[in-house]
């Protein structure tokens, strides 16, 4: 499987009304290596995983996740969000080697 490191998608519903509690889904492509596996030649594959995720809604941080390598490859997360203003939803994923991946989605209300 080809891996497009850091490629991220955020899915928010369409037709949001002010005050709705919406479902937010986000996925980022990352190997999430535990450091416990070996490759075909028997060499250990070093740990390489996302350990910090920050979700900001407008100016404020809405959620913050602290992960271990126990989250599956291409980590996916789904949670709720109270959409009470039109703002940008921004995800920042950070891995244990200093890699930073970001993705944004706009929360817009239907008129």
């Amino acid at each position: 499987m080809a891996l497009d490191l850091g490629a991220a998608r955020i899915l928010v519903p369409t037709g949001i009304r002010r005050g709705d509690v919406i479902d937010v889904r986000a996925l980022v492509e990352h190997p999430m290596a535990t450091g416990l596996f070996r490759d075909a030649a028997g060499n250990p594959i070093p740990a390489y995983f996302i350990n910090d995720v920050s979700v900001t809604y407008g100016e404020q941080e809405a959620a913050h996740f602290v992960w271990s390598s126990g989250i599956s490859r291409d980590p996916f997360v789904e949670f709720s969000l109270r959409a009470d203003r039109e703002a940008e939803l921004k995800f920042i994923w950070k891995d244990n080697r200093g890699g930073v991946f970001t993705q944004t989605a706009d929360i817009k209300f239907v008129t």
């Binding site: 404020q60 271990s68 390598s69 599956s72 709720s80 109270r82």
Partner: protein, 156 residues
Amino acid sequence: MSGFSRRSFLHASGLAFLALAVRRLAALGRPRPVDDVPWKVQQVLKQLFGDRQVQDGHVQLDVPTVAADGRVVPVMIESDLPMATDRYVKAVHLLVDNNPDIHLAEFRLTPQIGQAFVSTRIKMRMTSPVRAVIETSDGALWGAAADVRVTVNGCG
């Protein structure tokens, strides 16, 4: 005619067997009591929460009974606790007893998250209880646990 005929005995035993079978089935993937915690997990809980006790309830943990692939096990945690500005769910912790890293993830939430709900996919090394512990803003801890049978090691 005696009150205890062969037929009624067969009926009764059949029913008893059925009841047992249903209970067996229901017991699989059933939430287990939170207080049945192994020592190594108690140590992790102590490190996270100090002497605060985890109470049973308010947490709904949705995991498969059998996970064919330990690399991808879907987990859903939901709570009926309020997400108001003064009282809300501050954090959701996920622990897997038999994983190399027991404290698998922590999801810190704010009142902006309208409902205490988190879903993700995790790795599991082997058959193990999965625990969800919810921490509220006033310091209370609520937990739920469920057994997941794993056939393929997902941790190495």
